[in-house]
């Protein structure tokens, strides 16, 4: 009976905290230009929210919120956004990853276009770091056998 009471406290608090952790992760990412923060830090904090679900509940809860197929697509989407921004400068006869040429795309001057180019690549970095951290964690704790762990949880 004591174990059930322990579980109730942990599960209720985790369920309340997870949206606030994700909002904080997005806050750290967006304020990377003006205060300490950025892509890597925000991605790790957002991954921590899904890892908290897997630790406090069972594996099924974490997989319900972030499906495995979406996770694998996010892994590749981040690198694609980063390299895609670099290639976008090619179209306007600039160097690779030269964000000043993006001023032909956005209605701003070349200095502010560097600001927006940096925000785009930090988004790519954040998506990749979040997906890879969750993927490595879930692979290691189930030792590769995802299906058998899901079946054991059902019992």
């Amino acid at each position: 009976m004591v174990k059930d009471l322990e579980d109730v406290v942990i599960r209720t608090v985790s369920r309340i905290l997870v949206p606030f952790i994700q909002i904080y992760g997005l806050y750290v990412f967006v304020h990377g230009h003006g205060s300490p923060g950025g892509g890597f830090q925000g991605g790790c904090i957002m991954a921590a929210s899904f890892i908290l679900l897997a630790v406090a509940f069972n594996l099924r809860e974490s997989k319900r919120r972030l499906k495995e197929r979406t996770n694998a697509i996010f892994c590749a989407l981040g690198v694609f956004i980063y390299a895609g921004t670099g290639y976008l400068s090619f179209l306007y006869s600039g160097n690779f990853l030269d964000y000043g040429q993006l001023s032909n795309l956005f209605p701003t001057d070349p200095i502010k276009a560097r600001y927006y180019g940096m925000a785009m690549i930090e988004l790519g970095v954040q998506i990749t770091v979040m997906a890879v951290m969750v993927s490595i964690f879930l692979d290691l704790i189930t030792a590769g056998k995802h299906e058998e762990t899901l079946e054991e949880d059902r019992k």
């Binding site: 003006g34 300490p36 951290m133 290691l140 590769g144």
Partner: protein
């Protein structure tokens, strides 16, 4: 002599951490403990580089025109070691993840994680 000790003691702390990690990698028998030794070694090098970039009386490297109207490099901490060590931390995470995966594979095949038992099983 006291001047030498008082001005350089941060490097000594990191050398002690390097020695602890190095001894752990060489002398321990369990593969998991060797991996933890490698991790300690890696983090001490990262901390050593960050401590190189400190400046007396400098603030964080976020340029603030309302605090110092003229931007001089003397008021701000060197940002370059911080940038390089961000990359090093992420590479460390990748290395640790793959090393733990290899440990799981070794355990599946040999049933043990002690180094001498694995070497005996390899000789047969």
């Amino acid at each position: 002599m006291t001047d030498l000790i008082l001005s350089n003691y941060n490097y000594w702390v990191y050398v002690v951490l390097i020695m602890i990690g190095f001894y752990g990698m060489m002398a321990k028998n369990n593969l998991m403990k060797k991996l933890i030794g490698m991790n300690i070694f890696q983090w001490s090098i990262i901390l050593f580089y960050i401590s190189i970039g400190a400046k007396k009386g400098g603030t964080i490297p976020v340029v603030d025109p309302s605090l110092h109207p003229v931007i001089r490099a003397l008021d701000y901490v060197n940002p370059l070691p911080h940038v390089l060590m961000l990359t090093a931390i992420v590479v460390g995470v990748a290395t640790t993840g793959i090393a733990l995966t290899l440990l799981i594979l070794i355990y599946r095949k040999y049933g043990t994680l002690e180094e001498d038992e694995i070497l005996e099983a390899l000789k047969k």
